[in-house]
């Protein structure tokens, strides 16, 4: 059974409206609204005062108070005084408390819909600003790197070691799995087509070149973007929230050198190694299909791969890997450093770090591919 309250209105001698409340005035119950009073007041001009009779009110909670606040607002709109004397003591006091501090009118954020052109303009300004921020961050990173070359950068070698371990050795299982499967998938796709010509042996070429030149680096880059880029952003973001970065700044230690540089260095150094390992896993994946399904011999497959994959391919792959490493580290650290001071901001930073890194990886792959094409390598 839901509790319910009732209200009846009665006009006393001339200018007074008596509001009689009865029953249970509780949240969730079936209650009359204050708009009924407003309509009554509009109908009967000449009312100057509202009084309450609550002798039959059995119980009440916030529901009664919100009703009374609404009556108050109606009263002040129509310049009618609201007399509290008939209300329960507790309600009178709470109402007094709620109206003790006047509403701060300039504190409310302006609401309402933003016009399309406004929001377009804001987005554009935001885009330009974030491009500027990115360039600034990049510049700072380059300066920090320059300091490193002069042997003046301040960071702890133990930090570098720990980060290097986290971005390389600990990433091996996932990189193994992903690249092995990508190699396998490539081989499958190739095998079906190549079998038509009886040219199964070229599966080795296909898998070898694709993995070594491009796929291993891209797949490793994307894995690292999700695994490490997000982690960097979350780490630095949390440090921002805890004022740890402020603490570094006030000690005159550049967060760029102390936090960003070792992360960039670790990824730039470890990514080529990871790529090399990913190459091997990818070729192994292809080999499983070649040997298991296409009945090539192990030696045949190995020789064909060795013949197909040139040093240039390997070089381009490892170089791409290093570039992706720098991109992932930059994106992660930049979003972390730009993080706001709340838990949800840390989440946003991690998300946008991953997105930024993946977009960066794909863009730079396109650029590298075009350059290689023009140079004919």
């Amino acid at each position: 059974m839901t509790a319910s309250g009732a209200m009846s209105l009665e006009q006393l001698s001339g200018d007074t409206l008596k509001v009689t409340l009865s029953g249970d005035w509780k949240l969730g119950g079936d209650l009359p609204g204050a708009d009924k009073i407003e309509r009554t007041l509009q109908d009967r001009a000449g009312v100057r005062q509202v009084v309450f009779d609550t002798r039959q009110l059995t119980s009440w909670d916030t529901a009664l108070l919100t009703f009374l606040v609404n009556v108050h607002k109606i009263g002040s709109r129509q310049k009618i005084s609201v007399n509290h004397d008939g209300l329960p003591d507790g309600a009178q006091k709470l109402l007094g408390l709620a109206t003790a501090v006047p509403e701060k009118t300039d504190a409310r954020q302006p609401e309402g819909r933003v016009a399309f052109l406004d929001s377009l303009g804001n987005q554009t300004v935001y885009l330009f600003r974030s491009a500027g921020e990115f360039l600034e961050f990049l510049g700072d990173a380059v300066l920090a790197f320059q300091k490193l070359l002069r042997g003046k950068a301040q960071f702890r070698l133990t930090d570098l070691g720990l980060i290097m371990q986290a971005v390389s050795a600990q990433a091996l299982p996932i990189v193994s799995l992903i690249c092995f499967l990508v190699g396998l998938i490539l081989a499958f796709i190739g095998a079906i087509q190549l079998q038509l010509f009886g040219a199964q042996i070229y599966v080795a070429d296909l898998v070898g070149i694709a993995m070594v030149r491009l796929m291993a680096a891209i797949m490793t880059g994307i894995v690292m973007a999700g695994r490490t880029g997000g982690a960097f952003a979350a780490q630095l973001g949390t440090m921002q929230v805890n004022q740890e970065i402020d603490a570094l700044k006030t000690l005159g230690i550049s967060p760029m050198e102390f936090l960003v540089l070792p992360r960039m260095l670790a990824l730039a150094l470890m990514m080529p190694l990871l790529c090399l390992y990913a190459n091997i896993m990818g070729i192994l994946g292809g080999m499983v299909v070649g040997v298991g399904m296409l009945h090539l011999s192990f030696i045949q497959y190995f020789n064909e791969t060795a013949k197909a994959v040139g040093l240039w391919n390997l070089g381009i792959g490892l170089f791409s890997g290093m570039v992706f490493g720098v991109i992932v580290a930059l994106a992660g650290c930049m979003r972390g450093m730009q993080c706001g001071r709340s838990a949800s901001a840390v989440g946003d930073a991690a998300t946008s770090a991953v997105v930024t890194a993946i977009v960066g990886i794909i863009l730079s792959t396109a650029i590298i591919t075009i350059i290689c094409n023009v140079l004919g390598i």
Binding site: Q154, R156, D159, T238, E244, A247, T250, I253
Partner: protein, 252 residues
């Protein structure tokens, strides 16, 4: 304290976030050896004031002088050099969470001194002992209580024997006894080292116990309305807002 030498001078300072002006026309002087309280209600810009004094946020207008040097007028290098002589205790401690307490305190020493690892070890132990954390060297910040984190934050701020120590709400979130101990620590450090202390707080007990100079930021008037010894202010003020603040709103 007979000789009074200005340590930090703030002149016609305006603090703002974008178009929103938080406080304007702030002019006050912090003398050497003062325990200077920046007080005011919530949201009045106490912490922003501190961010400006320690070089984290540029003022919208006005100047800050450390001694004779214009803090925000110069280049970032000058600012770094000045602020290196200051220590800051942040509201939550802001210890570097990936390092032990010993490493936290040691980092400034490793960065700016030529001490050997052994000497650094000794200094770190001493500083931690000073704040009552002897034996906690190998703990990580997450493993100790909030009060201990704050004290460790002070130990780190004191690592380089700074001339000025800034405290952001030192007793917020502490039980009364720990808060009292922290106050005693601040007094003790000032008396024995002569360090200038700048304390941002609205904890009345602390304000009266340790402050010998203060500035009151009135949130409703968007400017400072009083400065001087808080005990004296309580006795003499006619400003209703300040009286309300200093007496917890009780009518006298």
């Amino acid at each position: 304290m007979t000789e009074t030498e200005a340590h930090i001078t703030v002149r016609d300072l305006t603090m703002a976030y974008g178009d929103f002006v938080l406080m304007r026309d702030l002019t006050f002087t912090i003398n050497r050896g003062d325990i200077f309280i920046i007080m005011g209600g919530s949201g009045c810009g106490k912490s922003t004031m501190m961010a400006i004094l320690i070089g984290l946020k540029a003022p919208a207008k006005g100047k800050v002088f450390y001694g004779e040097v214009d803090f925000w007028g110069g280049d970032p290098q000058t600012r770094d050099r000045i602020i290196r002589r200051a220590g800051v205790m942040y509201q939550s401690g802001a210890l570097w969470s990936s390092m032990t307490l010993a490493e936290n305190v040691a980092l400034p020493l490793e960065t700016y001194t030529d001490l050997t690892p052994n000497q650094i070890q000794e200094v770190v132990s001493l500083k931690l002992a000073l704040v009552g954390l002897a034996g906690f060297e190998e703990f990580y910040p997450a493993e100790i209580s909030g009060g201990m984190q704050k004290r460790a934050g002070i130990a780190r701020a004191m690592a380089l024997d700074p001339e000025i120590l800034f405290f952001d709400e030192p007793s917020a979130g502490l039980d009364p006894v720990s808060a009292r101990r922290l106050d005693d620590l601040i007094l003790e450090l000032r008396d024995s080292l002569g360090t200038t202390m700048v304390v941002v707080t609205h904890e009345l007990a602390s304000i009266f116990a340790i402050g010998n100079n203060s500035v009151f930021l009135d949130v409703s008037k968007r400017t400072m309305t009083a400065m001087g010894n808080p005990n004296q202010l309580l006795a003499e003020t006619r400003d209703p807002n300040l009286r309300l603040f200093l007496t917890r709103g009780e009518k006298s």
